[in-house]
Symmetry: C2
Subunit: 173 residues, 2 copies
């Protein structure tokens, strides 16, 4: 798979370089609160169940939204390490990520308006198993952190616009 | 469930107000790249499979990390609408959210260093079914958007620190 992936990355870079419009992608999520705090989200053909733990009023049928954020960051780091190790020919046997995020729930619960609702800090440890030199790993780390989409989304503001459609009755559709 | 939830929210607000230290929570994710771009993430007792679509070099065994981000935002909006509608006594029959996010993949693929790796924009539509007045829905929307953890995480920078542990051989643990 490694050589195929290396070729795929090189080919994709060439094609996006020649035709920047081809690099524009739009991802979508369609979700619905099924019962209580339990939501079902559709992402292409994939379905996720999201819920809150019982202590936060849910039935714990799945991870909660802020846990998804941590899984997104961990897996995005892993995929980006795999992609750039392959592209640069740096050996990488194994990658796993432990992430933790601190939230002060007074933010969500509106107990103190000076407390933010989201994570105050996120810390992670990336465990790499590789024969590469420390210098190559340092180079890999630098390029991964500069190109990891979820790390960028966490670290820098994303413009979000949310429209509300209000109906009195559930429509037939 | 509605009255129970209203009491849980009021009780939680009271307890966090009296004891701010009790509001400090830490969530964790432990993930591992299993094969190719396929990752398995553990969030308490829940397990998620994350992967890339075939066009991006994966085997499409699950949603990808940036799709998780959209599902996190959609479900967090839904849960926050349910929580504050309940807390404020505003009727809410149904809530569902459609989200889309635009990414220019030249960022991830390092084709153009001026292009960010993450979402350039996220747009969503929140569909509410409710007997409430437009004024109550406007009030609800304002309080939800001010207290939705994932909306805060997307809109404002989160300090992220990532340490790298490099081993030559997989350890016995």
């Amino acid at each position: 798979m490694s050589q195929e992936l290396q070729e795929l990355i090189a080919q994709t870079q060439k094609s996006f370089s020649e035709d920047p419009a081809a690099a524009k992608a739009t991802f979508t999520s369609s979700s619905h609160l099924v019962e209580g705090f339990r939501s079902s989200a559709k992402l292409r053909e994939h379905t996720l169940t999201i819920d809150e733990p019982e202590a936060l009023g849910g039935s714990d049928a799945g991870p909660n939204p802020v846990e998804l954020i941590l899984a997104a960051l961990g897996s995005c780091q892993e995929i980006t390490y795999r992609a750039y190790a392959t592209a640069l020919g740096i050996p990488l046997k194994d990658v796993r990520v432990e992430i933790e995020g601190d939230i002060d729930l007074r933010g969500f619960f509106a107990v103190d308006e000076s407390v933010r609702a989201g994570y105050e800090a996120i810390r992670g440890t990336v465990h790499l198993v590789s024969d590469a030199s420390s210098e190559d790993i340092a180079k890999l780390r630098q390029i991964v952190n500069a190109h990891c989409p979820v790390l960028d989304i966490m670290s820098n503001p994303v413009p979000v616009t949310l429209e509300v459609m209000h109906e009195k009755e559930r429509s037939a559709a």
